[in-house]
């Protein structure tokens, strides 16, 4: 990156971030949403590493004849964030796997539809229960 890209990197970062955000809010598939989160996350990584870069700098490892180093601090933050990221993505994926086992699908719409159908079949009895609970608490008072 010898010729100065100005804020070009940052504009790409915003684009990638919004691409990830779009996937998360618009698509119904839970695994796809996780990929969207991954896109979002990587854009943040690129933002930090771009900020730490300095013109004419070298990687922050002491070497003879080098006086200008890129900032090591963003590197430290992002290095750990990448590994934490994969661990948390795995938690999300295992939730998706459990949801698939319970509902047979990972599409948000189908899951909501099944939940609603369940509510309707037990709906009448549960409202009665709720009413009964309400009266019993009133009695208790």
């Amino acid at each position: 990156m010898s010729d100065l890209p100005g804020i070009y990197n940052y504009l790409i970062v915003v684009f990638l971030m919004m691409a990830g955000f779009y996937v998360v809010i618009s698509q119904g598939n839970l695994v796809k949403k996780l990929v969207g989160l991954g896109l979002f996350q990587t854009s943040v990584f690129i933002l930090y590493i771009s900020m730490g870069n300095v013109i004419g700098g070298a990687a922050p490892i002491v070497a003879e004849g080098v006086t200008v180093y890129s900032s090591p601090l963003p590197h430290v933050l992002i290095l750990t964030a990448i590994v934490v990221g994969v661990a948390t993505t795995a938690v999300g994926l295992s939730l998706a796997v459990r949801i698939h086992e319970a509902y047979g699908t990972v599409e948000e719409d189908d899951i909501t539809a099944q939940d609603r159908a369940d509510d309707e079949t037990v709906g009448t009895s549960s409202t009665k229960d709720a009413a009964a609970n309400a009266t019993s608490t009133e009695d208790a008072r």
Binding site: M18, S26, F45, L79
Partner: protein, 317 residues
């Protein structure tokens, strides 16, 4: 410049594709390109981590997740107009904010003028190691890294609770992800020892060159994952039984915390490694080595736990 362009192309393709297998593979390519970009931006340690985690481990995990769910995504029923509007407005606000940002590579940017000069001038002297990233990671910002190690440990626990790990070994030769492939098996057999050896080098050479516990843990786990994929299911479990993994994960955190508590008992602040030896620089060096070892063990155990959990689930289903 070109790299960033490629990233945009892949992001757009990943949004449009309905075949999740293709999306996951594209995401692996995306990670590898990001690693190349980090290399260009002088972040060698980060590039290293991204290549090992993003292009390697996370692709395998996403694929095993797909195997347990479904490969095809349904066509969305709702109109994409509202999300597009939200994304457009948010993006416009962010771009507006970015216009004030200092240029990439500006030596006068706030990032370069506060703690950075201190770290660059003093890290090699005070901690006594050429790699400033390792010095800042393990010594100056040891608290953060301790917290992150605990987060990784907790994530491993969460996956264990959600999916469970099959105890014991289930050695069923020939039953593996890719079938009985002689060429692949021979190549993997050659590669695995080299990968493990390289992981050890990365672990213990992290003070001098790029590397450290996080990368080494991931690479070490990759060796076992590759072995398990190419040979019969459960072969890796014979070498590292699942029952060891949660103990190993806890051991890593204990080593890290133990170093901190030792410093406390010696009358110094928590995680002040100069307590470990009469000579402060030698103490720092020893402390960083121990702490990185703890990180490496925890990361290795957690990544392998996650892999075992997903692959064991697939067999039961």
């Amino acid at each position: 410049m070109t790299l960033l362009g490629f990233l945009v192309l892949i992001a757009v393709a990943a949004i449009r594709l309905r075949d999740l297998f293709a999306v996951v593979m594209l995401f692996g390519v995306y990670s590898l390109l990001t690693a190349a970009l980090f290399m260009n931006l002088d972040a060698v340690d980060v590039a290293f981590t991204e290549a090992a985690v993003g292009a390697g481990v996370s692709t395998v995990l996403m694929l095993s997740g797909l195997h347990l769910t479904s490969r095809w995504e349904q066509r969305p029923k709702r109109s994409p107009l509202l999300p597009l509007l939200v994304v457009g407005v948010t993006g416009a606000v962010l771009v507006h904010a970015m216009l004030d940002a200092p240029f990439v590579g500006d030596p006068q940017a706030p990032v370069q003028t506060h703690v950075t000069p201190y770290y660059i001038a003093n890290a090699p002297v005070e901690v006594g190691m050429p790699n400033m990233v390792t010095a800042v990671l393990a010594s100056y910002r040891g608290y953060d890294t301790f917290g992150e190690t605990v987060v990784i440990f907790t994530a491993g626990l969460a996956v264990m609770l959600l999916l469970g790990i099959q105890q014991g070994t289930h050695n069923r030769p020939g039953l593996n992800a890719i079938g009985d492939q002689l060429v692949l098996r021979s190549v993997v057999k050659l590669l695995v020892p080299a990968i493990l050896l390289y992981a050890l080098y990365v672990q213990f050479h992290g003070d001098f060159g790029a590397g450290g516990g996080f990368q080494a843990g991931v690479i070490f786990a990759t060796g076992f994952v590759l072995y398990d994929l190419a040979f019969g299911e459960g072969d890796a479990r014979t070498v590292v039984p699942p029952g060891w993994l949660h103990r190993l994960a806890a051991l890593g955190v204990l080593i890290y915390g133990g170093v901190g508590v030792y410093a406390l008992l010696a009358g110094k602040p928590f995680l002040d490694y100069s307590a470990l030896s009469a000579d402060p620089v030698a103490g720092q060096h020893l402390g960083v080595l121990l702490v990185e070892l703890g990180v490496g063990i925890t990361v290795f155990a957690v990544i392998l736990t996650i892999f075992y959990a997903f692959s064991g689930r697939g067999r039961r289903a």
